[in-house]
Symmetry: C2
Subunit: 340 residues, 2 copies
Amino acid sequence: MAAHCRRVGLALRPHAKTHKSVRIARLQLDAGAIGICCATIGEAELLCSAGISGVLVTSPVVQPANIQRLVRLAEGGRVMAVVDDAGNLRALSAAAAAAGARLPLLVDFDIGLGRTGCATLESAVELARLARALPGVLTAGVQGYAGHLQHVEAFAARRELAAGQAAKMAELVAALGAEGLAPGIVSGGGTGTHDIDHGGVFTELQAGSYTVMDVEYGEVELTAASTRPVFEAALFVRTTVVSANAKGMATTDAGLKRFATDGPRPRIARGAPEGAVYGFSGDEHGCVVFSDASGRLEVGAALECIVPHCDPTVNLYDHYHCVRGDELVDIWPVDARGAY
Amino acid sequence: MAAHCRRVGLALRPHAKTHKSVRIARLQLDAGAIGICCATIGEAELLCSAGISGVLVTSPVVQPANIQRLVRLAEGGRVMAVVDDAGNLRALSAAAAAAGARLPLLVDFDIGLGRTGCATLESAVELARLARALPGVLTAGVQGYAGHLQHVEAFAARRELAAGQAAKMAELVAALGAEGLAPGIVSGGGTGTHDIDHGGVFTELQAGSYTVMDVEYGEVELTAASTRPVFEAALFVRTTVVSANAKGMATTDAGLKRFATDGPRPRIARGAPEGAVYGFSGDEHGCVVFSDASGRLEVGAALECIVPHCDPTVNLYDHYHCVRGDELVDIWPVDARGAY
């Protein structure tokens, strides 16, 4: 992803909400990332305390206690935040000014997802004007994230939809320029639009899932040039058969507590007969259903599954076990697991 | 639940896989439970190291490293395990005998769930015979869990289905008796069958969800006597509105990482206008959709939601915040969060 971004002239600020790992964030920075995105103040604290700079919290920080935590990070000069609400902006300004800090902010703009962001161009411009007038804050740019487009499977369809979103963002950038508020940073995009969001309005890319991939993204045609995955799955859940008495299936120890369940089924990558599919058998158990009656796995057999959806699956574990072939070469903490 | 079990003459060995809390396990023991069930060796270690006895691991323990951990607990005399496979039984026996320990085992019998357990009466009896012949193990009884019946909503339908399962268990108990292997413990049942699994073959109940409840169990007619929930929801996820620019909805900070998503939607218990429903807007965000256009929640507003499915939701958090009314009265660790 870093090489791609260099090639297309886009800065990369990858999203740590996927991996929640200081170690992986450092690898991303070493490869050329200009900073790291995160979703929660707890993640930001972990990244900043590890000495990482250019940390962008991509969700509004609104609770008074969290605003205080954000201001403490702003004093260290390592963090930026987003804002989409005048009341929240005033609260951020007051807290930062009281601490003698200067918090860089991106105005969050809703380019179609309907989740966070100013709903209209006018309200976004007005918020930027207010930010300019208030103490303790600094308008560093704008953010717009088309999350609903990232998993549109066909590349051409995704590119067409993304063009409409980028056009909205370009209108905002022009309107801000006309006010003397031209944004230095235009941040957005994801793994699904990484080969789309360049050569236009965005200055940087927030992609996260590419780091480890999952079943969902494995089905997306990520670039125009190729239909096979550009990024390979690097994240697997290893599970063991604990019962093998039922016909046509085996029971494992990885159920609803070991995979995120909002997406498709886990996909068996290794350890099961061809055609076997994975299912859930409750909180503590999964099942491997064989494609024909001759299929069998013994108690104790190990399987590895590509995870349905990487971000919420990583959040279920305390460690990555890093393997090369069959060798365990390192264990990395999921530093920000449960860090809200 | 303890009072119910006393009344109907059933022992209670509640399942800690729901709450993963030593503190709550102690409250259950203080109320009269004879021991505590758990699902993983990691949970068993935490319970045993807290001085709790009568710990039953309700899933087969098959990995060599986990068998060693189990044997270490057996040396302390606090743990029982289940078995449904002759190879696994020999491995448990060898490890326990080598350590000079005696591991009490329940023969796990599949009474209809098709997940773990011996598939036939004959194979279950044979396994009990083998256990009698092997060193290091002790046949303490049998286990059969009708997990697929727990959420059958109508009480009468659930009772009828459960009667069939209990009859299978009674056949096994009789067959074992004829072999001189009459089981001391017949363990099974759950919150959904707590008012069904008594006066018959079962000697003890493994119910877990009743401790905190959830949306799924809230919809189940738990007893013959009443259609309203016998157990009230005690577990809520508190979330904050972080964005309120979109019409007809508000965006919160509790998404796919803060609720288990295998069940129904979270149910808003407090903090939103009548008729509002909760949905998911990605990994980090939820949405509150209002029932009419006048609905609104401001940025910073707090909501509390009943969780869709308690067990895998608890596993996402490190602490319970214990409240009485609006007062925070204690913080309890989720000791076994992620303890596999």
